[in-house]
């Protein structure tokens, strides 16, 4: 150990990078059943090669690859790459670190901290990164920043991406507020939030002479970290993802004493992370269009051998592909070696792997077909992903963002739309329908919570992009903002004072009931509160009734409502008498009941009983009740509940009036 230290002191600082090669999520199911995310083929080359080649071209000399699952596969792949003298292996050492127990990004970093392998500033990568950024100048800049600001923990690297650009995953929309010398003040990921407005804390603008607000950025998921990042993760166990870390650091800037900076990459530098299918699609397209130069498919990513011939319209064809006269590769297509394409087939904007046999009359558009697959005649594949070693019999139609896992055999003429298909029934107990011998349809998980909408949105945003559907995020966000407005309209925003008054009243009554105080005193208390908060008479009546009705929740949690309300009503009867004196007060009372009933199911159920009691005690008169009743919305359950009482009331009235007559 001391020898190692001596070495590192003697030689110049080796630039290190950490790649967390584990993806804690299930966006890529079912492809990730057997292949880890790092070995997912991107344009027929495993993702890991892109990451390692990017690091080596960027100037990194030592990389730590952190894996939690499929370790054997990854190690095997790395060894075979080194044997084939992949480009990165000549200038960079790769160490695989294994940890079976980590469950999140944060856990991995904490583990890394424990292992104490990192010496100086290092580059931190999340899984699935592709890029062509020159890292050394950015690391140098980070170093300088650290010298001036001792607490600088991390430099985020972001790329410019205009609104509407497909590479800018709407899931990860970033709003950033920073000072002119690139210190981050606010970093917010907007994707999942449905709000149309953003709140900026005032302190940001007050404390700084000038701030820049950016909404045109894309997170590359690459960051340069100082060594204290590791200890910060270890100290704060609630940092699970990098976003948590950034948010935590920004919120607790004074406490933790660390700051975050950011850097904008300019020119032809590109960085992106494959975090879901949509990003996978857009990154594939970008690489196909050569935005990632010099990592281009025809020059081989790390193999340093020409793999494809680059033709017009961005068609990349491997040398031994069988094509016939009548088929056409229209535009943006890659076909891997050993594949063959049948007659009258049209392929456009798709990635075809190696040794794929495509039959006649097939239409493949905007799709990804992995290696060793057989596609039967007359098939149509659109906007879908077909895994390795699949067999699609003749006449299959696979469309609308379907994902088919490895080894699936689809029977003839099957129509798959927006499904996830796996080749065997799953072991984890997720429900699946059997379609055929080797095809099981995975049902998406149903979530019980009320943000099922959110989940659906999540899935929609993360699956493949289809140009026909309107952007779901825009529609839904518009709808949700409307509904929010509606909601807020019915519950008219209670001015603060009245709210406070209500709570005071509730407190007084609770105390009164518990301590068995005299009602007169309580009335005095309520009146004095009323003057303190400058509340009108109407409001007083309204709120007092409301308070009483809400008391059972305070006092008798968990017990049935009506029995617990009765003694309260009895006890506070003098108060009721005091406040419900005239017709308008009665109306207020009824409104209070309606109000509370709207929010509380329990009151809803027994509202007739309450009304009955009030009526019997002569707090409410029939006319008022009937008037109010006619004004209630007929469709609510509340109405249904109140109806029997009012019917009885009417009958009684008629009876009494008829009696009187």
């Amino acid at each position: 150990m001391s020898q190692k230290l001596d070495k590192s002191v003697a030689q110049k600082e080796v630039v290190q990078a950490v790649v967390i090669a584990e993806h804690f999520g299930n966006e890529f199911m079912p492809i990730t059943d057997d292949t880890p995310l790092t070995l997912l083929p991107l344009l027929n080359v495993p993702l890991l090669e892109y990451t390692l080649e990017f690091l080596s071209l960027g100037g990194i000399e030592e990389t730590f690859l952190f894996c939690c699952s499929n370790v054997v596969m990854i190690k095997q792949h790395i060894n075979s790459s080194i044997e084939k003298s992949a480009g990165w292996s000549l200038t960079m050492k790769v160490h695989v670190i294994v940890s079976e127990t980590c469950r999140s990004f944060g856990d991995c970093i904490r583990d890394l901290d424990a292992k104490a392998l990192i010496r100086g500033d290092f580059v931190l990568l999340e899984p699935g990164i592709v890029g062509n950024i020159k890292l050394l100048p950015i690391i140098k800049k980070h170093n300088e920043t650290c010298n001036t600001d001792k607490g600088a923990a991390m430099t985020l690297i972001l790329q410019e991406a205009g609104l509407g650009q497909r590479g800018r995953c709407s899931f990860e929309e970033v709003l950033m507020v920073a000072t002119p010398n690139n210190r981050v003040l606010l970093h917010q990921k907007l994707g999942t939030s449905k709000k149309a407005k953003i709140e900026l804390p005032l302190e940001i603008l007050m404390d700084n002479a000038s701030v820049n607000i950016y909404h045109n950025l894309k997170d590359t998921h690459i960051s340069i970290c100082s060594p204290n990042v590791l200890s910060l993760f270890s100290d704060n166990f609630d940092f699970q993802t990098k976003d948590d870390f950034v948010r935590g650091l920004l919120i607790n800037e004074e406490i933790l004493g660390s700051t975050i900076y950011w850097h904008l990459i300019k020119g032809n530098q590109y960085g992106a992370a494959v975090t879901n299918w949509r990003m996978y699609q857009s990154v594939s397209r970008d690489i196909l269009h050569r935005w990632l130069y010099p990592l281009v498919p025809d020059m081989g990513i790390s193999s340093q051998q020409r793999s494809y011939i680059h033709l017009q319209n961005n068609v990349y064809r491997s040398k031994d592909v069988h094509l016939t006269q009548s088929n056409s590769l229209i535009e943006d297509v890659i076909i891997g070696g050993g594949s063959s394409v049948g007659d009258k087939t049209r392929i456009s904007r798709s990635i075809i792997g190696e040794s794929v046999k495509i039959g006649d009359n097939v239409i493949i558009e905007d799709s990804f077909v992995f290696s060793n697959t057989v596609i039967g005649d007359n098939s149509v594949i659109q906007h879908s992903i077909i895994g390795q070693k699949c067999v699609l019999e003749t006449g299959c139609i696979v469309t609308k963002a379907s994902v088919i896992g490895k080894g699936v055999v689809l029977p003839e003429n099957s129509i798959i739309e927006n499904y996830l298909i796996r080749s065997h029934s799953s072991k984890t107990g997720v429900a699946s329908n059997k379609l055929a011998k080797n095809a099981y349809h995975i049902k998406p998980e149903e979530s019980v919570e009320s943000d099922a909408e959110d989940d659906g949105l999540h899935r929609k945003l993360s699956r493949l992009y289809m140009p026909d559907e309107a952007e779901p995020s825009d529609d839904e966000s518009v709808k949700s903002s409307e509904s929010e407005d509606n909601l807020s309209y019915t519950i008219s925003p209670v001015p603060d004072d009245t709210n406070l008054f209500l709570t005071e009243v509730v407190d007084s009554l609770t105390r009164g009931f518990e301590d068995k105080l005299q009602c007169d005193n309580l009335i005095l208390e309520i009146n004095s509160s009323r003057y303190a908060y400058n509340v009108s008479v109407k409001e007083v009546n309204f709120n007092v009734i409301k308070a009483i009705l809400m008391l059972p929740f305070q006092l008798y949690l968990g017990q049935p409502y009506l029995p617990s309300l009765r003694p309260l009503l009895d006890y506070f009867s003098p108060i009721l008498k005091n406040y419900i004196r005239n017709i308008s007060a009665m109306v207020d009372c009824l409104q209070a009941i309606e109000d509370v009933a709207a929010n509380n199911n329990e009151l809803n159920e027994c509202v007739s009983a309450v009304l009955n009691w009030l009526y019997n005690k002569d707090h409410l008169s029939e006319d008022v009740i009937l008037n109010w009743f006619s004004g209630i919305d007929k469709n609510t359950r509340f109405y249904a509940r109140v109806e029997p009482f009012t019917n009885w009331l009417q009958q009684a009235e008629e009876a009494s009036s008829s009696e009187e007559d």
Binding site: E83, Q159, G162, L163, H289, W291, H310, L311
Partner: protein, 346 residues
Amino acid sequence: MLEMELYSDVIKLISDIRHSKLHNSYDIAIHTEKLIEKLISEGKWNSAEDLMTLIKLRITRFANALPQEATSVNIMRHILKIIRDEYDSGFKNKGEGQQSAHHLGSTTMDDCEDYSKVLPSLKSSLLDNLAEYKVELESSADNIAAQALEHIHANEIILTVGKSSTVEKFLKYAAKSRKFQVVVVEAAPRFLGHLMASNLAKNNIETTVIPDSAVFAMMSRVNKVIIGTHTVLANGGLRAESGVHMVALAAKHYSIPIMVLAHMYKLSPMHLCSSEQDAFNICASPADVLPYSSGPLLDKVHVYNPVFDYVPPELVTLFISHQGGNAPSYVYRLLSELYHPDDQEL
């Protein structure tokens, strides 16, 4: 591992070029030469045939990885020719004394084709030859520059495109004794013309920088066009920086001579069959042409950024190498002097 053992040096060279540690063709040339020198002095080979096989393997590997970088491959080819020549001359000399009875009957053609005989002095003579070649490489730029005064007269306006260190030296040498002006075409999107212009201006040469679009407008007043190139093809055409073809066409329209300064190692036995020829041209990142700030436009358009251009031989007036000037129609002859016909197919 097998591959690494076989030709780790070439793989290292390829990696250096990809990592941009070697920029211009001069550096690549020197490194290649050193590589082969090392191979000859330290490599495991017995006969000329072994050595040639080793070098041919390297050529194939290199051409597979970086097909546009012709410099390295050309130098290795030339060295193959040197080996063949050395072998032939070695045997001719020795043949006087040591010819066995077996060989007396056979013709000299057989001797030339069969390189498997062991020639003990081959290594040393090769190393001597290579040392000479190295000197030639190093002085090539200066030799070309020394010819400047034959081509530039006083008060000329010379047009050049982008940056070429050969052309820079050439012009600087001429500027010491003649007064002339230079118009530099900026060569977007890499803008190397800007660097060239600032270098020339530092040497007190009157320089004007124009954007690519103004070439035709300026051309009528230009007296000469002097450019460098990336590769010279077998028919006398050029693979030059993108934009040179349109400069050449404009010069042809006004009957202005174009002089191409090319080192010998840029001469390649490659022919161009079609403009879509495999690996003739390479497209670099479109971000140089349409930046990321263009927003949603980027998804909807195809952007191309080709690096090279083909210039047909009829547009070139003169090639200047360290040996002197040549017409494009003479290039085939130069090629036969540089490379053996058998090596030209690699």
